[in-house]
């Protein structure tokens, strides 16, 4: 068939630009917002996702990782004595206050761990190594937060709740979801930094023996520790995600922005595809009068929409790339994986085809006798 759809679409360059603009705007908005959502999700559960522990044990009714009350470290020994547990460690995650030599303070979240274990360790270490945390007062922070925390070099001294802290290394790219950066240190230091009573912890991390049935081990630990909650690591990560994303509304708002992008996209694309169809309405009348089957007429409209979708998608991916790069520089954690990009292709085409349906309805109602009227 002569390329009627393509010609009609490219015939009016200004209208084509408007169409593409609408699609690009919508797609970039959706990609960036969903990318932010993914970024947020990764940030909220990063400590759990990278812990390499099999189970997390917290005090009863702990809503999320950042809000765990302390319990007696006696529980830790009960855990160690449970069959199926290969190893365990007391672990602290708690907000506290970081003080620079000039007196400025910042909220931080201290993570207290055992550097001799194979799990629960800081990851992406770019300066120093985890063994250096065994030095007195040693802490590690992320390079992203150097400026915020006033850290220049390894060896800089700070104060956390009246206790001295010395930076011995850096991680890279460990973003906290809240404004409080993570400070990695030993469990003992963390007890002081976060003002725990001696013999108190707020988590126990468990590594199971390789052959263990995790569900069974979880149930057994739960039975032995009735005052605690025992989670599979991914369960606790999901619980924390859910809290930040949905209980606080942070996630809802980015998802709503993504949804808004979808709505805006559909509206703009519907209008422009409709306007293009109306520009050529006489031709559609002529086609119907000639006896062209409806399927052909619909194909013309759908093809217009699909071409617009593909072009808009490609442009949108390019624009999104720039936005993501800009976001990475400015500290906005936009994470866009290939799955998102592939799904967005189908969303874009779907959006445009949906938009075409309004035009198809219009053409369906067209009276072929119109061709004889002036």
């Amino acid at each position: 068939m002569p390329p009627l759809a393509r010609r009609n679409l490219f015939h009016d360059k200004i209208r084509l630009m408007v169409t593409l603009n609408g699609i690009v705007f919508a797609v970039v908005l959706i990609v960036v917002e969903l990318g932010l959502f993914t970024g947020f999700t990764t940030a909220t559960s990063g400590v759990m996702d990278h812990s390499q522990a099999d189970l997390w044990i917290a005090a009863r009714s702990t809503p999320y990782v950042d809000q765990a009350v302390d319990f007696n470290e006696r529980k830790f020994y009960q855990v160690l004595a449970t069959p199926g547990v290969a190893d365990a460690q007391k672990y602290i995650v708690r907000w506290t206050e970081w003080k620079q030599p000039n007196g400025r303070t910042e909220s931080v979240e201290v993570i207290g761990l055992d550097p001799n274990k194979s799990f629960g360790l800081p990851w992406n270490i770019v300066t120093g190594d985890v063994q250096q945390l065994k030095q007195p007062h040693a802490v590690m922070v992320d390079v992203i937060y150097k400026q915020k925390l006033g850290v220049h070099n390894v060896g800089d001294w700070f104060e956390i709740r009246g206790h001295r802290a010395k930076v011995v290394g850096f991680t890279q790219g460990i973003r906290a979801f809240t404004t409080a950066p993570y400070v990695f240190t030993t469990f003992k230091n963390a007890q002081e930094f976060a003002q725990f009573n001696q013999n108190q912890t707020n988590f126990v991390l468990v590594k199971a023996v390789p052959s263990a049935d995790l569900a069974k081990l979880k149930a057994e630990l739960q039975r032995r520790l009735p005052d605690n909650d025992v989670y599979l690591t991914r369960e606790f990560a999901a619980k924390t995600n859910h809290y930040w994303m949905f209980t606080t509304g942070a996630g809802i708002s980015v998802l709503m922005a993504a949804g808004l992008g979808l709505v805006v996209g559909i509206v703009v694309v519907t209008q422009t595809i409709y306007a293009t169809t109306m520009d050529h309405i006489r031709e559609f009348g002529t086609l119907k009068a000639m006896g062209a089957p409806n399927s052909y007429v619909y194909r013309v409209i759908i093809t217009q929409a699909t071409i617009a979708a593909v072009m808009g998608y490609v442009l949108a991916v390019v624009v999104s790339l720039f936005v993501i790069l800009g976001g990475a520089k400015s500290g906005a954690p936009i994470q866009v994986g290939w799955q998102l990009l592939v799904s967005m292709f189908f969303v874009t085409v779907g959006m445009c085809v949906l938009a075409a349906i309004v035009s198809i309805k219009k053409v369906m109602g067209l009276d072929p006798a119109m061709v004889f009227r002036g």
Binding site: M1, P2, L4, A292, P293, P368, V371, F372
Partner: protein
């Protein structure tokens, strides 16, 4: 029905549902349109010419009476089956040309052929042939906007005859043309009628083209006044 009869209309009336307060646009029309003839249809404004043409072209249904197209009774044909009858048996030429402006002259003809089942390569060579017949072999790749009115209407004629429908129905094909262009268009239509045995119906107000008709039908107030 004689083999020469392409369209046969018997006792056709048409009352438009809305407006015109029940006065029928057609009031019992019977006539045969024959192959090999150019039939002119004339009459005052509002007399029902376009209505009759639309009924003969399976675009409108009559309120009463019967219509046969190429030997097939189309009076009670399904709404959904009318387009196929139009596509197969009838070519239309309109006052306003109704070419596809974003397609070249040749592509306009190709589109019509491909809708009728021609393969693209066949459609191309057949379209070239048809463009020669209407005297526009050299305008194949021109866009309609670069053609004169008469040339556009000849492209429209080539598009209408593409795929060899028995019937060509033209509603005021010369109304937008100067007299010379009008004559060239009618000349092509008459040749098609005579040389290819098509039934050609031309609705017109234009007395300048009377000489091209093999036959003349006058319509007044929804009735055939003379033939």
């Amino acid at each position: 029905m004689s083999v020469d009869v392409a369209i046969s209309v018997r006792g056709v009336t048409k009352t438009y549902a809305e407006g015109s307060a029940g006065t029928p646009a057609l009031n019992g029309v019977s006539l045969d349109i024959r192959r090999g003839e150019l039939t002119l249809m004339m009459g005052p404004s509002g007399s029902g010419k376009t209505t009759l043409l639309s009924i003969m072209g399976c675009i409108l249904r009559p309120s009463a009476g019967t219509v046969m197209v190429a030997g097939q009774d189309v009076t009670h044909l399904d709404e959904g089956k009318m387009p196929a009858v139009r596509l197969k048996h009838i070519g239309f030429v309109f006052q306003g040309f109704n070419l596809f402006p974003t397609l070249t002259a040749g592509e306009n003809v190709e589109l019509s052929l491909e809708l009728k089942g021609f393969k693209p390569s066949q459609a191309k060579s057949e379209a070239r042939h048809l463009m020669e017949i209407v005297g526009l072999g050299d305008k194949y790749n021109e866009f309609p906007r670069n053609l004169s009115g008469g040339q556009k209407q000849r492209v429209a004629v080539a598009r209408a005859v593409a795929g060899s429908p028995e019937v060509i129905l033209a509603d005021e094909p010369t109304a937008a043309l100067d007299s010379h262009s009008g004559r060239t268009v009618l000349d092509v239509l008459r040749q098609l009628a005579r040389q290819q045995q098509r039934a050609v119906v031309v609705v017109t107000h234009d007395n300048r083209i009377l000489e091209f008709g093999d036959r003349m039908i006058r319509i007044e107030d929804g009735l055939i006044a003379a033939q």
